[in-house]
């Protein structure tokens, strides 16, 4: 992801800062002086910022096709959601402690009473409940072990309860109601859309036309739209909800998969590797069964400099966006500058799509293909890259693959002096 400010970022910043701007003059006039004043000011500022960040984070869950482009694609929006959400959490922890510290110069008793007032002070206890709900909603991310995706999604829904409790905590105590109503409305509307309306309104009906095995644990499924299909561009992904009751796992659960068919193709194709129980079950998806598709999202192939040649680095199942783009290139070569595709596979048996990519590369001079096998040659070296693509540092780079590979390639490219602004990445990972 290039480090670039997207238009949506500014919108988010304005939304987060509006309540503070409205409350600022009032907070500045707080009584007291010295440390007490500073601590109570900081305690309130962190509270106001924490709540607005929490509400904006919730609003960011909306996942509308097209809207994610304002934020540089859905993966980047998720990343922002995660960062802002964690920031809100840290701010809220600070809010509690700072306010309690502000009362410490009076006495320890007062500091404790700020934290634990008599039960009649309902807003304070609503605040504690909100924090507890937030901790539970975030708890799976605190674990070191792998996260169960569906359980995580269910548990994360508790953040909606945290949100409501946080409003019960703050609204009776803060006079700037207008800003809070606006943000609350955005947040609750986003959650309602995402959890209640989108499953009914945003999902398109498809039928499974074909399931093609590409390797032991990789299939490409072809989907035929029942009515109007989605319109995607290369590199985008969709959420797939299989409605096949015979599946061992993941029935009626949505999971994201990258589209491997060319834009405008009659059938929608998804390359799926068995990475978890649901994607494992999809390997035996019944042809003819019903699936739903929501999307498309992302803008992996966004151009920073349209005249630059391109370098694609795909590893493992991370080759799928490049398959979609190569198929697009085969149909509309005039849309592309020269592309050097490096397929980083473990060994020949794992180089799925290999033959098709070879065919396209030999038919079109815009695409050159180079396959690199880890099993024989170890990780990709700068020398190998330079040998097969001498001008790689002057190209716009697109990388997709497992996180370890991305990390490794980022290090390699940084050492080789490649400008980070021209590197686009997409990780197949839980954020």
């Amino acid at each position: 992801m290039p480090r670039k400010i997207e238009p949506g970022d500014i919108l988010l910043a304005v939304l987060v800062l509006t309540p503070l701007a409205m409350a600022g003059p009032r907070l500045w006039e707080l009584p007291g002086d010295g440390a007490i004043w500073l601590l109570s000011l900081a305690g309130r500022v962190t509270g106001v910022l924490g709540l607005s960040a929490l509400l904006v984070t919730a609003a960011m869950c909306v996942r509308l096709p097209g809207l994610d482009r304002w934020f540089g694609g859905l993966p980047r929006l998720w990343l922002l959601h995660r960062r802002l959400g964690f920031s809100a959490f840290l701010l809220i922890l600070g809010h509690v402690l700072l306010l309690s510290f502000a009362a410490l110069p009076l006495s320890l008793e007062q500091a404790l009473r700020v934290l634990f007032p008599p039960l009649a002070h309902a807003p304070i206890w609503a605040g504690w409940l909100a924090l507890a709900a937030l901790i539970v909603a975030l708890a799976p991310t605190f674990q070191v072990s792998a996260i169960h995706y569906q359980r995580w999604k269910r548990q994360h829904l508790l953040s909606a309860a945290a949100l409501l409790l946080a409003l019960l905590h703050a609204l009776p105590l803060i006079p700037e109601r207008a800003a809070w109503w606006l943000l609350s409305l955005l947040a609750l509307a986003a959650i309602a859309w995402r959890k209640l309306l989108a499953p009914v309104l945003a999902r398109r009906e498809y039928r499974v036309a074909q399931v093609t095995p590409l390797a032991a644990d990789v299939v490409e499924i072809s989907l035929a739209p029942k009515h109007q299909g989605i319109v995607h561009s290369a590199g985008q992904f969709v959420y797939l909800t299989p409605q096949d009751p015979s599946l061992d796992a993941g029935y009626a659960e949505e999971h994201p998969f990258t589209v491997s068919s060319a834009p405008g193709a009659g059938e929608l194709k998804l390359g799926i590797k068995a990475l978890g129980d649901a994607s494992l079950a999809l390997q035996t998806l019944t042809p003819g069964s019903r699936v739903q598709v929501e999307g498309p999202y992302g803008q992996f192939f966004a151009r920073r400099a349209a005249q630059r040649k391109q370098l694609w680095l795909g590893g493992g199942i991370g080759i799928t966006p490049f398959v979609g783009a190569a198929r697009h290139l085969a149909e509309r070569p005039d849309h592309f500058t020269h592309v050097a595709l490096f397929y980083l596979a473990n060994r020949p048996a794992r180089a799925y799509y290999h033959e098709e990519l070879e065919r396209i590369a030999s038919a079109h001079e815009q695409l050159s293909l180079c396959i690199h096998y880890f099993s024989c040659c170890g990780p990709l070296s700068e020398a190998f890259l330079r040998e097969h693509c001498p001008d790689f540092a002057e190209r716009e780079l697109y990388i997709c693959g497992p996180p370890a590979m991305l990390e490794y390639l980022h290090g390699l490219l940084a050492t080789a002096g490649v400008d980070r602004a021209f590197i686009h990445t997409e990780a197949f990972d839980f954020l």
Partner: protein, 274 residues
């Protein structure tokens, strides 16, 4: 360090701090707030004496708070706030706006001004300002020295003539008066100026809530008309001099100001020969 780890570490630190505060609070025996039975009992009369800007006590939920230092900070309607000085202000406290109590943080702030336990009239300890309630016959038990002693302590010889004097405090002139002294008796006492907190009391309409204060001053002055100089000190017990002394406990006569202004006039000497 990843965001997950930062957040998790922060959570652990947060819980540790809260637990530390809790444990310290428990181990230290929650001493900072005096227990109710060790608080000094304060009766309604003593409370009522602190009913003004310079010393404002309020009873709230059975406790007495000296909120004088906080008055300049208070954000609400000042007159209304002052109105509750010297009274049981629980109702006002719990109805900042109708049905809306003060905030928990305000409650915390209030605790720092706690000075005593409010003793209801039945259990009140003897109020220290006995003068206010001392019946006329018991004047010898009054804490003040006799009028003659007081007069004797005053310097100077008081010739007949017209005197003018004033009382100023907190950067403002509050009382200014004129009288004529004939054979050590006060005559024709006239309030030339009476003000407090920027309000000119002489210009108040009769409907004004503070108008009774002006009336009390006039009653106090009328009491002195034709009296020997020593009787000036009757005003130390205004309850015996004017009506409804406590009807407006938020704004009552400060008779000491009259005494001070008269003594100021005497110190200055004759303003004009008759």
């Amino acid at each position: 360090m990843s965001l997950n780890k930062i957040a998790y570490t922060a959570l652990v630190a947060f819980i540790s701090v809260v637990l530390t505060l809790l444990a310290t609070g428990l181990l230290m025996g929650r001493s900072p707030e005096p227990a109710a039975d060790t608080l000094r009992p304060i009766g309604a009369a003593e409370l009522a004496a602190h009913n003004h800007r310079d010393s404002c006590w309020k009873a709230i939920d059975g406790k007495v708070y000296d909120v004088t230092p906080y008055l300049p900070e208070h954000s609400g309607d000042e007159a209304l706030t002052l109105d509750w000085c010297g009274k049981d202000a629980s109702t006002a406290w719990h109805n900042k706006r109708p049905g809306k109590a003060h905030s928990p943080s305000a409650a915390l702030l209030l605790q720092s001004y706690l000075i005593g336990q409010f003793a209801s009239s039945a259990t009140a300890a003897a109020p220290p300002r006995q003068a206010l309630t001392t019946p006329p016959g018991a004047a010898d038990r009054s804490p003040r020295p006799s009028a003659k002693v007081l007069l004797g302590l005053a310097p100077g010889t008081y010739l007949d003539g017209i005197y003018r004097g004033q009382f100023s405090d907190r950067g403002e002139m509050q009382v200014s008066l004129q009288f004529s002294l004939r054979e050590h008796r006060l005559h024709d006492i006239e309030l030339r100026y009476l003000a407090y907190a920027g309000v000119n009391y002489l210009k108040l309409s009769e409907e004004h809530p503070s108008y009774p204060v002006l009336r009390q001053y006039r009653q106090g002055i009328a009491h002195l008309e034709g009296q020997p100089l020593a009787n000036l000190f009757d005003l130390y017990e205004p309850g015996q001099v004017v009506e409804d002394i406590d009807a407006f406990s938020g704004a009552t006569l400060r008779a000491s100001k009259i005494i001070s202004a008269v003594r100021d006039a005497l110190n200055r000497g004759v303003y004009q020969w008759q």
